[in-house]
Structures are given as C-alpha cells and as structure tokens.
C-alpha cells in the first residue's frame, strides 16, 4: 500500500481528523517503496528493500503541541495515535513561538516529480545496472565500488483549518568509485534523477574509470593559491557537506538577525540587499523546474514558490520559520528544496581549454566548518585532481587539503559553465582564482 492515491490518502487523513478533540490538528501521511544495492571489489556486498507508510499527527491545545506517529491504519490504531498526540500535547509546556496552523493554500504543480518508470524498478533492474558497472571494471582490470538507491513515494497533508496537500515523488541516485588494482588511481562519478530513463550506470562508470586510470602517477605540487576548475561534484554532494550546500544552508534569517551568521550585519540586522558576491552569481529555487522537479509545499504546509536568493551577487531573500517571519514582519519564505545556480554554456572541457594554468578538481570531500563567522570550510580533493597547462590536462596531481569560504570563492569567480543536475540541484562547473590549498595529502 506504499503509494496511496490522493483520494486514498485524504480519506485516511479525514478519518484521523474526525477523531481529534484538539483545538488544532494536522496529519501527514507519507509512504515509500524502494530499494538499494551496494557493491565493492566488483561484487555485490549488500542489498535492501523498503516498503513503508507512516502517519504523523500533531495535536494542539492552545499553545501546547504534541506529535505521535503510527504505521497501521485500522480505526483503532488511528484513534490511539490521535489520542496519544493529544496526551503528549496536554503534558507539553506552552510554546512561546506558537503560530496557528495554516488554512487552505494554493500550491504549484510539478507533475514531473513522479515518474512511473522509477516506481516500476525491480530488484533485477538494480542488479543489471550494478552488474554492468562491475563488468566494465572487470574488463579493464579495475575495482569498482558503487551504490544505487531508488524510491517512489507520496506525501499527503491535511489539517482542521482547511489545508490540504498531496504530491508523489520518485528518485534514483547512483554513485561509483573506480580504483586501479594497485590503488594508485581513483575516479568518481555520480548522478541523480526523478525519471530513470536517463540513467545508465555503465556510462557513469566509464567516466569514473577514465578518471581512475588518468590519475595514476600523480605528482606533488606545492600547496598555495591556485586557479581551480571545480566540477559540480566538487560543489555539491548527495551525502556529505558541500561548499555551495553550506552557503545555501546559511541563508537562515533568524541566525542572521541574531548576529551569528556570515549574513549578520555589524551593529545588528542582516545583510539582505547587500552585494556580497561576484555580479555573475545568481541562485534561485523553483520547485516546478523541469530538470529538478521538487515538492511544492514545505513540511509546515507553506507553498514552495520560485524564490531568488542571490541576484547578480546581491542577497535578495533569506528563509525563516513562520514564527520568525511574523515576529520580524519579514517575508514568510520556507527553506527551499533544490536550487539552481545560473550559468553559461561552457562545459568543463571548455573551461579547461580556456585555462592557462590551473587545477581541475573532480570532487571535494570531508568538508567541515572551521569558522561560521566567515563561512570558512576545510576539506580535501579526491578521486581525480589534475594540473592544467595551456588549455590541456598536463598530469594528475596529488590531493590537496583546502581551507576556503564559499563567500570568498564566489567573489573570485573567473568563469561559470553550464549547470548540470546534481543532488537535486542545478550546478555549473566554476572556474575560481586564488582557491586556497593549505597542505598535501598522500591519499588516493
């Protein structure tokens, strides 16, 4: 029963609300079917499957709130779940940050967020894609380690103030690391989709394999400030922190207003309206974007709309909770899902051609905050780092540790390439001057 239709879901939610005795009640149903396959050393190591639907009920008495969940849907269980939420609410302290539940909302539509092809994935499909990757590496006498994960699901919301929401989503993500048998070269490729018709594990494995063989014999270069070309996987990541992800995560209005953000203004307030980045930097979110269709409502029911966060280098909007927006009388904008950084038409190869001296970075990894005041982060290059000279890749180089702020990085912009989808975002490769590498790593 994992993917309920809108009617099926709303029927359950209406029943849940009918059991409520609270001042306010909101119920959220979500379901998922999916699976994953993990491989290493050119063989499958683990595989799993998910099939689950669960209900969350939030009940409120005045400013007291309680939440309970369940994953059985008979009347008795639903009634117990509502009662439990109400019991917890009665025990809870009053919230000084209470805001009433939202009433009816108008949401955009993003039908491309769901693809039947992805919902139809079978264990055989996962095994075939994984086998194709492993076979390619067997043939080339390389080692692959990969992870394929897919899901199809839905989210439905309803409350006693008239709010009603429903959307289906599908997704598949794949990543593969290919290493030479001697461990002297390593390459990486990753991609994610709503619709699997564009997915081919073998093509991605070929990219990673080329990086692996190309990175054998890496030479050491002195750490220091370099012009770099950061491929999209060096800017955002599916499972780890990333430089652009960290930048977007820092657009919280409250932190900025409270004085503990790079967006805080000396003397109080925030830096909305200030030009903080190169004028070619524009970042926005749009849940209806054809290439990264996303949820059109936020977890608290607010509509997700097109929002410009940075326009021509100027901070245009910050996101906030409903409480903070009302308290400060500021725009009530939820945190976005995926986002889009505008770019040009050049591919990574084009950017390389236009570079006299520089470093091509496939991937940055183990990125952690060093100083929230300046948004300084540290991390390392990984899985394919190359020296560029006169528009060509000259030779692989040993990995570097960097200490850099995305704020400084986006002021040192040399060129922007064509955006590609990664981790649910659209991200261009970037050419950056004076990127700060602080030490060398022996890691391959």
């Amino acid at each position: 029963m994992a993917i309920l239709s809108k009617d099926e879901a709303q029927t359950i939610l209406k029943k849940v609300l009918s059991f409520s005795t609270a001042d306010e009640c909101e119920a959220t149903l979500n379901g998922e079917i999916g699976g994953n396959v993990r491989s290493a050393r050119n063989t499958i190591s683990t595989a799993g499957a998910v099939d689950n639907v669960s209900l969350a009920v939030e009940s409120r008495f005045g400013k007291r709130s309680g939440v309970a969940t369940c994953n059985q849907f008979d009347d008795a269980t639903l009634r117990r779940c509502v009662q439990r939420a109400e019991e917890i609410a009665k025990l809870a302290p009053e919230s000084p940050e209470y805001v009433p539940l939202l009433g009816p909302q108008q949401y955009l539509t993003a039908p491309a967020s769901f693809a039947q092809s992805t919902a139809n994935i079978t264990p055989d499909y996962r095994a075939q894609q994984t086998a194709a990757s492993m076979q390619l590496c067997d043939t080339k006498k390389l080692d692959s380690a990969g992870f394929l994960e897919d899901s199809a699901g839905f989210i439905a919301k309803r409350n006693n103030k008239g709010l009603e929401a429903y959307q289906q989503v599908t997704g598949l993500s794949y990543s593969v690391t290919v290493r030479t048998k001697e461990g002297t070269g390593s390459g990486y490729a990753t991609a994610d989709f709503n619709d699997i018709s564009k997915f081919d594990a073998k093509i991605l494995t070929q990219i990673a394999a080329d990086k692996a063989t190309g990175s054998v014999g890496a030479k050491a270069m002195e750490p220091g400030k370099y012009t770099v070309i950061l491929e999209p996987a060096a800017l955002v990541a599916n499972t780890d922190a990333s430089l652009l992800g960290a930048l977007m995560n820092a657009f919280d209005a409250r932190n900025a207003d409270e004085g503990r953000s790079f967006l805080s203004k000396k003397g109080g307030g925030n830096r909305k309206g200030e030009k903080m980045f190169d004028e070619r930097v524009t970042i926005y979110s749009d849940p209806t974007h054809a290439e990264i269709p996303d949820l059109t409502f936020s977890p608290d029911g607010r509509p997700q709309k097109k929002v410009t966060w940075i326009e021509k280098g100027v901070v245009k909007n910050l996101y906030s909770t409903r409480f903070w927006a009302q308290k400060g009388n500021i725009p009530d904008i939820p945190r976005p899902g995926g986002w889009i950084m505008e770019g040009g038409t050049q591919t990574t190869a084009d950017l390389i051609k236009g570079t006299q001296k520089g470093i091509l970075v496939t991937r940055l990894w183990y990125i952690r905050p060093v100083d929230p005041q300046t948004l300084l982060f540290t991390g390392l290059t990984r899985d394919g780092t190359f020296y560029i000279e006169n528009g060509k890749i000259k030779h692989p180089v040993k990995n570097f540790r960097f200490n850099e702020s995305p704020v400084i990085m986006l002021n040192n912009l040399e060129a922007i390439g064509k955006p590609v989808r990664l981790a649910g975002n659209l991200v261009p490769p970037l050419k950056i001057r004076d990127f700060t590498f602080t030490s060398l790593s022996d890691a391959v």
Partner: protein, 550 residues
C-alpha cells in the same frame, strides 16, 4: 527537498527542532511511559525460531534474526524555553541469511511469527538473486552458540524513568547559568537511547540485551554587536554508556585542567551547571582572545579533544572493511594496508603509543555483552609500542586476514538496517610514569593546549587531517599564557602519532564520545568512546583560520 528530509521535518511540533532527521532518533513518537515496557524474551524466542526455521527451509545455510525495540527520548531547549520534547520507538525485526554463499537481508515491522517468516523468505530470495552476480563466497569465522543468555548496561538510574519535567528543569537551569554569565544565546539538549535487542542465530544463540546511552550537551554563544563578532563554546560533557546518574556530579569524577584555565575534566559524572557557567565566561573571552601566530607548536591535547583525533586517524583507519575496499565509494579506504601490517614493524606511532580496541569498558558507548552477530565481546591490541598489530573485524572478514575469530564489533543502528563492521571503543593507554597535565605543560616551551571537539576533517585514506577545538590556550615557557583563537592543526597521521612525546598517567584518563558516527550506504550511525589521558605531540603544524569577508 528530498522526500525523506521532508518526512524528518514533518514529524514534530511547529517551532521544534527536527529530531527525526537526526540519525537514530527517528521511529514512532510515543508517550514516555510506553518506553518502560519490555517485551518478554520467551515471545521473542518463539518469533526468532519462526524466522530461523523459515530461512533454513527456504535454503539458507546460515541465518540470524535481530528483534529490536529501539527507544529514544530527547529534550531541546534554548535560553528560557523548551523547543521540543520527543519520545520515540522503533520496533521490528531484521533477518540476515546466507544462501548460495551470498548475503541476503530483509526487515519487517510486522513482529509476528508469520511476519518474521515472510521476511526470512524474502532475505533468502534476495540472496539467491544476488548470488548470480556474486564472485566471492561469504566465509564466516566459526562461532559456537551461547544458548539463552542476557546482558544489560550496568546503569544506576534508567534515564527513561526520570520525569521529563526534571530534565527540562536541569537544562533550563544550565541555560540560566550561561545567560547570567554573559551568554547571548544558549541551546541545550539531552539525548537518551535504550536498545532492547534480541539476537538469535542458527548457531544456537538466543541473546537478550538492554543497552543504555545518554548525552547532555549545549552550545553557548556570545555576540558582540558592535564589532559583529560572534563566538561559541560547546559543552565539555561526553556522551556515555551510562544512565541518568551521569548528571549527578561527583567530585571523584572531576579532574582539574591546567592551572590558569579553570577547566574541569569529567569522568563518569558531569556538572552541567558548572560547565555552562564556565562556557559563558570562555565564550566572552574568545571574542577578544589573540589570534594564533601560525607555525610549529608542541600540542598538549586534553582527552575530550584527543578522542576525536584518535577516532578519525586510528579508529577508522584500522577498520578492516575500509582496508579491504568495502567503503571505497563513501568513507574511503585506509593507508594502514595489509602489507604494512604484515611486516610486523609498521611504526604507526612512537613507542609510547599503545592503542586498545574494547567492547567491554564500563561507561563506554561501545560496551555490549555480545555484538549484533552474536559474538561475545572483548578487548584486543591494535597498536602495541607504536607498531600496528591488528585490525577491527567481524565474522565474514576474519578469514580474509587468516584469522579464525571475529572481534565482536558488528552493529546495526536499528532492526531495519543490516549489521556490518563498526568501530569498537578505540583508546590510547595512559602513561605508566606519574604525570599530571601541569607536570606536562611545565616542560613545554612553545605550545598550544586544546580542549573539546571542534572542526574535524581527514582524507579518504586517513593520511592528512585537520582539527580545531573548543578552547585553545597558548603555552609559553612552561605556563599557560592566555586564551588564543583561530587555531587548527594539520598533520599526517603517521608523523603525528610518531611525534607523541608524553602521556599523562591513569589519574588523568577520561573518555570522549561520538554519539552519531556515520558510515555505510545507506548511512548508519553508531556510538563509540575513546579514552586517553592528556597527551603531548611535538612540532605540529598550526594554521591560523581567521579570514575576512567583504
């Protein structure tokens, strides 16, 4: 926004922190009293047998089942208010099988004999499907069955029995101490976990365990509006394998920090009020502290800081699955390769460095009676007198390195995740000669003293790392010479551990803990402790992390 992130953000009251998005803190949210209920082992045995029999009938040559009730409770506050209180429960079973020499796994929240039998059959079906593209047959180290046995974390007070109001009162009192002493903001929280897990296998083991963990923590921030500068100081508590008794401070558990710092180190109990008071004062001091001059320094590292360095540069590097390449696509591999280990003289660190892996240490996060594949736990040497002597391994890895036994460090974060090799407590043994932290500092001419965890990053083979900390003090001519800021040190793992020049004695030994250590795809968390005494490292590269943005 990914659907799962959305789900995590939905399941809580408005204005709350997003608890279910924290690994290990998902599950259904239930009323607190329900967390005290236990499931009868006899019932679990009957269901486990149904799964094992179904697996064997379907063609499994080995099967194990974990019936787990994973409970958690957390309290979040900021300044004078409660942000969120949540009690969660996740109950279900995972069945793991070997069929055609291949692993298969399936999980179900239908904890009935029929539900478990169905999961077992699905696990066998998955194993057989995957065996078609499998190249290496799974070989398990032999393991005798223990029959019906049990184990319980030796706690004095079950944190789940303590009224929530009492926990809220304590956190708000800590917040008040911080605010009274100059904090602009303070966030405090208390995490509690109880794993009630039942393991059974075709080897003949029926193991019932009741495991408890707790972590009180806070972050105090001071904002100087005039300069626009802000600084934070985190709690110096450790997550522990203890009950609520951890929050009743005892003088015997306190170790004075270096003279001139006011710091206190905590063993098996923690004084959150005293630490919050000190934290506010130190956060204020950080605003005006001098910026470090980069260069080579002798580092004197407090156990509450050094634990994370041990974790990243030794704990993860000696995990055999990383060494063999099973984590290559995510967390990476390891520089501590088999060829280095086989030489029996790979000098990982100086002769002072003795590193022990341990799954039994009382009060530690990793302490259990048996691991999640039914192996009785113990302790073993990883590094002896500076030389790499062993790895951390589980049943299907032992044979690969020519050994006939698992180390008992297999773990799954819940019933619905497959168990795999996870880090044991990995600890640096204290020095044998009497030495306090002040004794150590008096011999340091130019150094930096660091306490608490900060920024941390290490490469995918565990060579190059960079660590920050919570508080930093300059050491000049044998004495603490004031707080400094903007400190991070960068080193190569082997060079760093070979620069280990002195270790304080056992009286200074304490445990650091990592409550949410991530690994695997899909990612799972585990909790692990790292003990050490204050330790000196000579000539380490310190960088200045201050920057200016426009």
């Amino acid at each position: 926004m990914k659907r799962r992130e959305f789900v995590g953000l939905t399941s809580l009251a408005a204005g709350a922190l997003f608890l279910p998005s924290i690994p290990g803190f998902g599950g259904s949210l239930v009323d607190p009293e329900r967390l005290l209920e236990q499931v009868d082992p006899a019932v679990k045995k009957r269901m486990a047998d149904a799964a094992l029999n179904a697996a064997k009938s379907a063609g499994a040559t080995y099967a194990d089942v974990r019936i787990g009730r994973y409970l958690n409770q957390s309290v979040f506050t900021r300044e004078k208010q409660v942000q969120n209180i949540a009690s969660g429960e996740s109950y279900g079973a995972g069945v793991r099988v070997i069929a055609n020499g291949t692993w298969g796994f399936a999980a179900t929240n239908s904890v009935t004999e029929a539900g478990l039998a169905k999961a077992a059959q699905l696990a066998v079906q998955i194993a057989k499907a995957n065996s078609k593209v499998q190249k290496e047959q799974v070989q398990l180290a032999p393991q005798k069955g223990y029959g019906e046995v049990s184990w319980k974390t030796p706690i004095q007070q079950n944190a789940f029995e303590v009224p929530i109001a009492q926990k809220v009162e304590l956190l708000l009192a800590a917040n008040a101490k911080a605010l009274d002493n100059g904090a602009s903001f303070v966030n405090s929280s208390l995490f509690q976990i109880n794993e009630q897990k039942y393991f059974a296998s075709t080897d003949g083991s029926y193991i019932d365990q009741d495991i408890h963990r707790i972590w009180p923590t806070f972050t105090v921030s001071v904002v100087d509006r005039a300069t626009g500068k802000f600084r934070s100081r985190d709690a110096l508590s450790s997550p522990m394998g203890l009950g609520y008794e951890y929050l009743t401070p005892k003088a015997v558990d306190q170790v004075a920090g270096p003279a001139g710092t006011g710091l206190i180190g905590y063993r098996n109990s923690y004084d959150i009020l005293a630490d919050a008071t000190l934290a506010a004062k130190q956060a204020k001091e950080k605003i005006t502290a001098k910026s470090v001059v980069p260069g080579k320094y002798d580092l004197v590292l407090d156990p509450n800081h050094l634990g994370l360095t041990i974790h990243e540069s030794i704990g993860h590097a000696t995990e055999l699955d990383r060494v063999l390449g099973y984590e290559a696509n995510y967390a990476g591999t390891s520089f501590a390769t088999l060829d280095k280990w086989k030489t029996k003289n790979f000098q990982y660190g100086s002769k002072l460095v003795n590193i022990v892996a341990d799954k039994t240490q009382p009060g530690s996060l990793g302490a259990v009676g048996y691991d999640d594949e039914g192996v009785k736990t113990g302790q073993w040497d990883l590094i002896k007198n500076g030389v790499l002597v062993d790895y951390q391994k589980i049943r299907d890895q032992a044979g690969i390195v020519g050994q006939d036994h698992s180390d008992g460090c297999c773990y799954a974060q819940s019933w619905q995740d497959v168990q795999f090799q996870r880090m044991a407590n990995v600890s640096l043994q204290p020095g044998t000669a009497k030495m306090s932290v002040d004794d150590m500092i008096k011999n340091v001419d130019k150094g930096v003293y660091i306490a608490g965890r900060g920024s941390y990053s290490i490469d995918q083979q565990r060579y190059n790392f960079q660590f920050g900390g919570t508080v930093f003090y300059a050491i000049e001519k044998g004495k603490i010479a004031g707080m400094i800021e903007d400190v991070a040190y960068q080193a190569n793992t082997q060079e760093f551990w070979n620069s280990c020049a002195a270790i304080c004695d056992r009286s200074d030994y304490r445990m650091f803990g990592s409550f949410f250590d991530g690994k695997g795809q899909p990612s799972q968390v585990s909790a692990v402790s790292h003990g050490s005494a204050t330790t000196r490292f000579n000539g380490v590269n310190v960088i200045n992390t201050a920057r200016k943005i426009g």
